[in-house]
């Protein structure tokens, strides 16, 4: 039986780890991201997600350095994303040591890009990242460009389309819950999990180990991710996994 995965996410702006709150990235947590990752590696994480949320690509080289550094240090899968708009960019990230590449804005603007990438690299290394903000009536709306632009897609419909286009996994982020510490938007997670047959990673809002358990047990996610919490707790990922195991979740 496949284990449920625990995935720390590292959110980078211009090469520094930042805290993400409702997609605002103002506080730098670590200037040296690879130090943070040293700990993740020792602490038996199952995977690492690394996202470039820089406002421009001026410091993109720093992101590449982090990706390359991560792949040298952690012998677990590495998903990277942010500013991915071309097949060549996907190839470059894979060559730097990424195992999966996540695409978001470009997937919505040009869904055939997902198909093209899946054809060239295989669906299993194409992740479509979906950022959701709930509308005033509660509708889970898909937003792109780091939460700056609203689309006409609803969460489940876009997730299904992304799968049809060739996505191998969905990285589902609640912008509303991001940095809130309120736990995942479980209804949203369940909505998307039920809509697709590919794995769904829940992200945004987890701040207690119980939140992680809920993401799997209530939301039905195949993997749970968190960012901020892992930077502020000693031995955090190990403790999280112990808690998940004790709650009856099959983790490694």
């Amino acid at each position: 039986m496949l284990k449920k995965r625990l995935i720390p996410s590292i959110v980078l702006r211009d090469g520094a780890v930042v805290r993400s709150v409702n997609f605002k990235h103002t506080n730098v947590i670590h200037w040296k991201p690879l130090t943070a990752v040293d700990f993740f590696n020792k602490w038996a994480v199952d995977e690492i997600v690394c996202l470039d949320v820089s406002r421009t690509t001026e410091q993109r080289a720093r992101f590449y350095d982090v990706v390359e550094g991560l792949s040298r240090k952690c012998f677990v899968p590495l998903t990277v994303g942010g500013w991915v708009t071309t097949v060549d960019e996907v190839r470059k990230l894979l060559r730097l040591g990424a195992d999966k590449v996540s695409i978001n804005t470009e997937a919505v603007r040009r869904p055939e890009f997902v198909t093209e990438c899946a054809r060239v690299f295989g669906a299993q290394c194409m992740v479509v990242a979906i950022d959701i903000r709930r509308g005033t009536d509660g509708t889970p709306e898909v937003w792109i460009d780091r939460g700056a632009e609203r689309t006409t897609w609803a969460a489940a419909a876009w997730a299904r389309e992304a799968e049809d286009r060739g996505a191998g996994e969905i990285l589902l982020t609640s912008i509303d819950r991001d940095g809130s510490g309120l736990g995942y938007d479980l209804e949203l997670v369940r909505d998307v999990v039920d809509a697709v047959s590919i794995p769904v990673v829940a992200f945004g809002g987890a701040f207690t180990w119980q939140h992680l358990v809920d993401g799997v047990a209530v939301g039905g996610a195949d993997a749970v991710s968190a960012a901020n919490v892992f930077h502020f707790t000693e031995q955090s990922t190990r403790k999280a996994k112990d808690y998940m195991r004790k709650s009856g979740i099959d983790v490694r």
């Binding site: 039986m1 496949l2 284990k3 995965r5 038996a44 199952d46 390359e68 792949s71 040298r72 012998f75 677990v76 899968p77 590495l78 190839r91 894979l94 060559r95 730097l96 040591g97 990424a98 195992d99 999966k100 054809r119 060239v120 690299f121 295989g122 669906a123 299993q124 290394c125 191998g168 996994e169 047959s197 590919i198 794995p199 195949d222 993997a223 490694r252």
Partner: protein, 208 residues
């Protein structure tokens, strides 16, 4: 030196990093001369079967690979796609011929359990069917990282079935490790499976 064939598919860098971590001299290469000099050959890769085979063909290394592995008997380790190439043919986006060193076909995963999704992505238990040098000193029931939507299916070929060393379960049987003589293949990613994976690579290095 271990030659890691660099044919533009997937996480080749990670494989190099893993060999470096266990202090085994390795090199990403496309050169026929390196394949001839190497003590062992690794073909890693994630991606589509057809593109992979086309890239290998375009590099012009297939004949050399066959000579070094099948004639000169250098240890070969195929990882993920590199294992699938051992099949007679791949059925991903159309039918493409494989290296055919082992036989069988590469087909899409068909889990009978709806809870088992495709691609098969994540950490799974591996059951060892028979003893193999590649799995020496790993746990009796190790956990490895898988990432694939297709698998090498013996397709009724008894010789291929006999080459199966270990399997995983994902709504159906998944071929996890194969071996015939000096030819090894792992469907999982040893370079992404932390300590268990590094041990597999150490075992392979000892054969070189």
């Amino acid at each position: 030196m271990i030659a890691i064939v660099d044919y533009g598919m997937g996480n080749l860098r990670s494989v190099l990093n893993a060999f470096e971590a266990i202090h085994a001299p390795a090199r990403l290469t496309t050169s026929v001369a390196d394949l001839r000099d190497a003590h062992a050959i690794v073909v890693p890769g994630v991606g589509a079967f057809g593109d992979g085979m086309r890239n290998l063909t375009a590099l012009g290394v297939i004949e050399t690979l066959a000579e070094e592995v099948l004639v000169r008997r250098k240890p070969y380790l195929g990882i993920c796609l590199g294992m699938q190439f051992l099949a007679r043919e791949g059925r991903e986006h159309g039918v493409t011929g494989g290296l055919g060193w082992l036989g069988g076909v590469v087909r899409r995963l068909e889990p009978r359990d709806a809870a088992c999704k495709v691609p098969h992505m994540g950490w799974n238990d591996v059951a060892i069917v028979r003893e193999c040098e590649l799995l020496r000193d790993v746990d009796e029931r190790p956990v490895f990282y898988f990432l694939h939507g297709y698998q090498l299916d013996p397709d009724g070929d008894r010789a291929v079935e006999a080459a199966v060393v270990a399997t995983a379960t994902h709504g159906e049987r998944v071929t996890a490790v194969v071996q015939r003589d000096n030819v090894f293949g792992v469907q999982f990613h040893p370079e992404k499976s932390q300590e268990a994976g590094l041990q597999v690579l150490r075992n392979f290095v000892k054969l070189a």
